[in-house]
Amino acid sequence: MRKDQTLGEVLRQQGVSRRGFLKFCAATASMMALSPAMVPQIARALENARRPSVIWLSFQECTGCTESLTRSHTPTVEGLIFDVISLDYHHTLQAASGTHAEEAREQAMEENRGKYLLVVDGSIPVGNPGYSTIAGISNLEMLKETAAGAAAIVSVGSCAAFGGIPHANPNPTGAVGVSELITDKPIINVSGCPPIPAVITGVLAQYLTFGKIPELDHLGRPVAFYGKNIHDRCYRRPFYERGQFAETFDDEGARKGWCLYKLGCKGPITYNACAVTKWNDGVSFPIQSGHGCLGCSEPNFWDLGGFYKPLAQATMTTGTVIAGAAAAGAALGAGAALLGRSRQKKFRKEVSEESKS
């Protein structure tokens, strides 16, 4: 593929019909809650889009986000789009390795300074930057260097967005998300562990089309995908309302598909598109498969008391704590009683001495 070909030329080369292309644009518009009137604009923008440079940095990550992304790599239009952005650096997908890979990155940064899109997955250790390095360069340094020339940054996955699993208690590496380190560039947080494939591509497509950052919530996530919580869109919600809960996995309630609140589902506090867009091209999502939502698109979801700890339960207090407090209280209470008694004795003694005198 030549770098200077437009997307439209590439698509025609690949045999994608105009009709198929327009269908994709319509689907994208609908998914982003844009009006059908926008479809021609999307088509025009995508058709004429020069292949923008995208640099994808992978830090302390499990590669799950890339795996998720590649699950959308089928003979669909989405897959083709990713053939036609200039993915100039990606550890998992690139062919090059070693110094050549790093040179490719540096060249892309140089040629597209101020215009390239930086995508990050994985958290950045700041406790000791030596915990994670690439070609001898710490994640922290590489991020700062690469962010400096980027037009915008997309943090893919909860690790890049909020610190993710490395950030979980006790956070031995001092892991943080991108937005804690870069404050002078626009950042879109596409959180999730991993994010839904279509959400990743949808965000990139929107940026491609409009060249601007979509509306973000207070955590920097696109409202189009993260604006509603799972609980409000969950098909098991009527069971919650009726008070019908699964008490254990595989009990009668579980088999009947009742609400999973009591098994620790974090749906009520999790904002993501899982209940609507689902996974594996709309096949299912965790709750539908019988497991409560982990809250994976929320910050600190590893530290919410446990995946199986219901929201309505205290996370720190156990029977032991209560027993201990009761014991302490009894001891201190006995002390208070003794103090009170000796005070009483003093008062009574004063009075009897006075009456004798």
């Binding site: 919580n229 506090i269 309505a312 205290a314 209470g333 006995a334």
Partner: protein, 217 residues
């Protein structure tokens, strides 16, 4: 740490600790002071039973008393009973106690609980109006009465709002509800809510004192 993390974690933890320690200090500190000796011969030797009986019978006032305190007496019971039904028979509360103590029991339907909660809150508001307008209550009420009223009502209102997904987003409303419970727990050792525990020894004492004189109190 989000507000909800704080509420479910340290807030509940420390409020429960303060509640347990503070209550026991106040209970033991008062109940185990020196007790003035009663040396007269009782009319009957089993006057201790009178004390326990009074704990039960003082729940219902004598007819000549009842007709003068009717509204307050029934309103008081309606909201107390409603409060305990809501606290103990709402599924998610039972879940909460299961997390603390490992035991659970059957609950009531959610709608029943919502109605009970609403009635309880309404009666509490009516009683506040009464406290602010009735001459006897106005002359004896202190700030303790108003604080106790507020920390008792807040969990009911915030709980209903959280359940019905009213007001703030669920994660915030649940956090506020849990924090209101924490505030209630922390207040119990320090205000008049201590009567939850002290009503028993207090009724017992009076019942025993009257019973030893041959009077059914």
């Amino acid at each position: 740490m989000t507000l909800l993390d704080f509420a479910r974690g340290p807030a509940l933890q420390w409020s429960i600790i303060i509640f347990a320690v503070g209550t026991l200090i106040r209970l033991f500190g008062a109940a185990f002071m020196l007790r003035n000796k009663v040396l007269s011969k009782p009319r009957k030797s089993d006057w201790v039973r009178g004390g326990f009986r009074t704990i039960l019978t003082r729940t219902l006032p004598a007819p000549v008393f009842e007709k003068r305190i009717r509204f307050q007496h029934y309103a008081g019971y309606i909201w107390h009973i409603g409060f305990f039904i809501t606290l103990l028979f709402f599924q998610l509360h039972i879940l909460f106690f299961k997390g603390l103590f490992g035991i659970s029991w059957p609950g009531l339907p959610n709608d029943v609980i919502m109605v009970t909660g609403a009635i309880t809150a309404a009666v509490l508001v009516a009683l506040l109006v009464r406290r602010m307008t009735n001459p006897v209550l106005r002359i004896i009420s202190t700030i303790d009465d108003y604080i106790s009223w507020l920390v008792t009502l807040a969990p009911i209102i915030t709980g209903m709002m959280a359940y019905a997904h009213m007001g703030f987003r669920y994660e915030t409303m649940l956090a506020i509800h849990l924090l209101s419970v924490a505030v209630l727990l922390v207040w119990i050792p320090f205000g008049k809510l201590i009567h939850i525990f002290l009503v028993f020894p207090s009724r017992y004492q009076q019942g025993a004192k009257f019973e030893r004189r041959g009077v059914r109190a």
